[in-house]
């Protein structure tokens, strides 16, 4: 191997190599301005490389990635839809990118109007009364929503309500959020139709229940048919209903959480409204709530003052800030542009086509794979992978083999309640041929399991590395590069 394509930027560093970005400092020597005892003895071991090396290094690294721009990326519950390029151009405008968060309201009226109007659009889409844009992602949105509920109960002396009911199909962030908020997560079973098991819910519902955290449509890709009943049950028992809005793509413009009994929910702008996933982030998790929870929303929120807009701080009952400043403003800009592009009709068509694409793809594979819940799905569907074991292969093998066909695999082994599952979400962005090709690849892999099992077992074969020893990585954690001589 002549060119080691896996060399780290540090291993490409050579003494004396450099870029020429900043002028030689021309002021007083630093030792004159800062006492010696505060000054570093040895400089940080930053790489010494020229500009071409940096460009070539990170350009070649980018080519080792699957992305929506290069591949079909049906990662369930992540809504990997097309990220419009116009939104990147708009977010990089100096009028948005070069704003300092400490600038007075009068100097940033364009930004405040955008945030104010976006708060309104998200309230309308969710059927809620008030919105905060401050949470940096869905998980922080969940925590914000649950803290609103806590503040609501505490103000009413309901400090005994320390339990939150969570369907067993929920995402891991839901129970984790409850713990962070000082609540006890109580898991609620799902029934055979994939909805909430009402009896188990009733069994676990008590005056200790602060809230139900429900994901609707659920991570099983199904709308909770009993949602109205459930919400009534909760409200009658003095509890609140929180909704994880990760799957809003399926119902935007069709139905609204505020209309089916939800008190507070979070959005994932990087799912439903296409702000780019960026290799793992940034995201944005605005929270929308009904009137009765509005007083507790984090400060500040943008308010209209006459013809102008201002950051409103006068909220005595607010739970306070969940994050410095006002949230991931760059994602607000992209989401605002996305909603203004679509308008009411575009958002509804997104939901309809996401659901149509999911049902069509399900129909293509239902003959050869076990669909966990055999009825029309919403924006995603779940395959029960347990029968694969009879063919001598695992869900993981199917996922890895898909890489060789140029497809990013679906979500695997989540939700936990479906064994060896694959969760497939095509989104509305993909065309029919891509869905046909993906289905053909899935089915071909089943055939390969019979004719050439090794091919599937040891996949992927076309990636820069083979299957990695993840156990070794956990047992002997190497989490930073150390120069050979120094280690």
């Amino acid at each position: 191997m002549i060119v080691d394509d896996t060399a780290l930027i540090f291993e490409k560093s050579r003494h004396g190599r450099q870029t020429h970005l900043l002028p030689e400092p021309d002021g007083a020597p630093v030792e004159k301005l800062i006492p010696k005892k505060h000054l570093r003895k040895t400089p940080p071991n930053f790489p010494e490389v020229a500009e071409l090396e940096v460009v070539r290094h990170y350009t070649r690294l980018s080519q080792k990635a699957f992305s929506i721009d290069t591949n079909f990326y049906p990662l369930g519950s992540c809504t990997m839809k097309y990220n419009p390029k116009i939104n990147e151009k708009i977010a990089s405008m100096p009028g948005f990118a070069r704003l300092h968060p400490h600038q007075p309201d009068s100097e940033v009226q364009g930004a405040l109007q955008l945030m104010h109007d976006l708060q309104g659009y998200l309230a309308e889409i969710s059927g809620m009364d008030a919105v905060t844009l401050q949470p940096a992602a869905g998980a922080q949105g969940e925590l914000t929503g649950i803290l609103l509920i806590k503040a609501y109960h505490v103000e009413r002396g309901q400090t005994g309500r320390i339990e939150v009911l969570i369907p067993d199909s929920a995402h891991g962030t839901n129970p984790a959020t409850c713990t962070l908020a000082g609540f006890k997560a109580v898991s609620v079973k799902s029934n055979a139709r994939g909805g909430v098991d009402l009896d188990d819910l009733k069994k676990k519902l008590s005056d200790k229940t602060a809230a139900l955290m429900i994901t609707n449509p659920s991570t099983l890709g199904l709308f909770e048919e009993q949602i109205v009943t459930i919400a009534k049950l909760m409200h009658d028992a003095g509890a609140q209903v929180y909704m994880d809005g990760a799957n809003m793509n399926a119902i935007q413009g069709i139905t609204r959480p505020g209309d089916f009994g939800i008190d507070v929910m979070h959005f994932n702008l990087h799912k439903t409204f296409s702000t780019p996933h960026g290799g793992g982030g940034p995201g944005s998790g605005p929270v929308a709530c009904k009137k009765h929870l509005e007083p507790y929303l984090p400060i500040p929120r943008v308010v209209k003052v006459g013809e102008g807009y201002a950051l409103g701080y006068a909220r005595p009952k607010s739970i306070g800030r969940v994050k410095a400043f006002f949230g991931n403003f760059g994602m607000h800009v992209r989401c605002y542009a996305y909603i203004r592009t679509h308008g009411p009709e575009g958002l509804r068509r997104n939901a309809e086509n996401a659901v149509l694409n999911a049902n069509y793809l399900m129909s293509l594979v239902s003959g050869r794979f076990k669909i966990a819940f055999d009825r029309p799905c919403m924006h995603e569907f779940v395959i029960d992978g347990s029968p694969l074991r009879k063919l001598g292969i695992h869900t993981l093998d199917v996922a890895k083999r898909l890489l060789d066909y140029g497809f990013h695999p679906p979500t695997i082994y989540f939700p936990l309640i479906v064994k060896d599952c694959l969760m497939i979400e095509p989104t509305e962005s993909e065309n029919r041929e891509t869905l046909d090709q993906f289905a053909a690849a899935l089915i071909k892999i089943l055939d390969e399991a019979k004719t050439n099992p090794d091919l599937v077992h040891h996949a992927p074969h076309t990636m820069p590395v083979g299957r990695l020893d993840e156990l070794k990585a956990a047992r002997e954690p190497i989490v930073r590069y150390k120069p050979v001589k120094a280690s």
Binding site: V55, Y58, Q103, A176
Partner: protein, 449 residues
């Protein structure tokens, strides 16, 4: 408008394959009485040309750190970064991929995170750093959670000189699980260490910031010593550019360092998205929140990288997790990584040195104006407080008219600094800017009410 590919005849064929006469039939699981049944009350959709004009209109109504010379700091800093960052980090493969769950198909993302973790460890002098967090404020909250996890004490000591918004976030995150926050006083703008070891005996952690909110360089070694003497963890919030010149928290004995990598290649963008970082001693690796990339090998012994110690994370520990973070600030961490690699050893030295020089020249220029004084004597990095005869809000308006974005209003957070203002200078500021600002500030101060 929308980005849907399938046209009407695709939809017809797909409905037929699914056995539904119309797409509405696929929504029968939604009870009829909660169907919206009307169009959402939103403005009509726009084509790309119309959208661009509309957004340009909104953008034009904002003053920016490009249109005006800015001395605003207070947690967000306008720094130079090379043109290659936008062009390389803006590639579709970086922007539109998601978390590297399938390691073999994400070696590029995983390796770049491994390099980011290394750069943060080098800056902070600590052993392990996670893939990224939302921002500096939430990273500080996670560090407090790590300390509480490691101790049976329920009190946290936080310096009054820590960023006020960071301290607000700590209260929001921990008040409902009964954690008590005690403020450490400051003297001459620096956290006073007198009696700290004593009071630290009651605390799970001592949390400070250096350079602190007044730009003052704290005595981290002494603060860490006192914290440890009291049996508490020592946490420091730091500025990554300053660590190009200042003794790193690790070398000062700090257990955890947090902060925001925003100064490296990330736009101020009215408050976010930025890039919180957390670094700690190796002994705390199992408490490290969020994603962590580790090095390993594949079947042929080739080096590769993968997400590791996932058992810490929420999707495994669920209700036992100490952090609920899932999506983080990955693309911002990439921008910081590329910027740090492009600056390199010499570029980091120049950036930090220019910041110190310009800030001290700015200090000398403004304090030469009668009535303008710095309330603190302690050494500072690239930011310092001043007090003038005019409230910062009024002064900033007058400065705006003269092409400047002035400084941060300190009085709102520190009653003991009436008409106080925070000024910051980075390498983007030239000596000519400082000269012009001196004239403008002097004029602005003389302007009648």
């Amino acid at each position: 408008m929308d980005y849907i590919q399938n046209a009407s005849d695709d939809a017809a064929a797909m409905l037929k394959a699914v056995g539904a006469k119309s797409v509405q039939e696929l929504f029968t699981s939604i009870p009829k009485d909660v169907r919206l049944g009307r169009a959402l009350d939103l403005p009509a959709g726009m084509t790309e040309q119309e959208l661009l004009a509309h957004m340009a209109g909104l953008a034009a109504r904002n003053r920016t750190t490009d249109s005006h010379t800015s001395f605003i700091g207070g947690g967000a800093y306008s720094h130079f970064f090379p043109a290659l960052v936008d062009q390389v980090a803006g590639r579709g493969e970086w922007v539109t991929s998601y978390t590297p769950y399938q390691a073999e198909a994400s070696q590029g993302t995983l390796q770049s995170i491994f390099e980011y973790q290394t750069l943060i460890c080098e800056l902070t002098g600590l052993d392990v750093a996670n893939a990224s967090h939302y921002d500096g404020s939430t990273a500080m909250a996670e560090s407090v959670a790590m300390a509480l996890d490691h101790s049976d004490r329920n009190r946290i000591l936080v310096s009054a000189a820590v960023n006020p918004q960071y301290r607000e976030v700590l209260k929001t995150m921990f008040k409902q699980i009964g954690v008590e926050f005690v403020e450490l006083a400051t003297f001459e703008g620096a956290t006073s260490t007198g009696g700290l070891a004593e009071v630290a005996k009651t605390a799970a952690a001592v949390v400070v910031q250096s350079p602190n909110y007044f730009g003052v360089i704290e005595d981290l070694a002494e603060l860490a010593r006192a914290a440890h003497e009291g049996g508490a963890k020592a946490v420091a919030s730091v500025n990554p550019v300053a660590l190009g010149l200042l003794e790193p928290p690790g070398a000062c004995g700090m257990d955890i360092a947090v902060g925001d990598a925003q100064p490296f290649g990330i736009e101020t963008s009215f408050g976010g998205p930025w890039c919180g970082f957390i670094a700690a001693k190796m002994e705390l690796i199992r408490q490290m929140p969020g994603r962590l990339v580790g090095q390993t090998v594949d079947g042929k012994g080739r080096r590769g990288f993968c997400l590791t110690l996932q058992a810490r994370e929420q999707h495994i520990r669920r209700e036992k997790a100490s952090s609920n973070i899932c999506t983080n600030q990955a693309l911002m961490a990439l921008r910081a990584t590329i910027t740090m690699s492009a600056l390199g050893r010499e570029g980091l030295r120049r950036m930090a040195t220019l910041c110190v020089q310009r800030a001290h020249e700015l200090h000398d220029a403004v304090t030469s104006i009668p009535g303008v004084s710095r309330p603190h004597k302690s050494p500072f990095f690239h930011e310092f407080a001043i007090q003038t005869p005019v409230e910062a809000s009024v002064l900033n308006e007058r400065l705006l008219a003269r092409g400047f974005l002035g400084g941060v209003d300190l009085e709102k957070s520190y009653q003991d600094l009436p008409r106080g203002m925070l000024l910051c200078a980075t390498e983007r500021i030239t000596k000519a800017d400082i000269e012009r600002f001196r004239g403008a500030l002097a004029e602005a101060l003389r302007e009648p009410r």
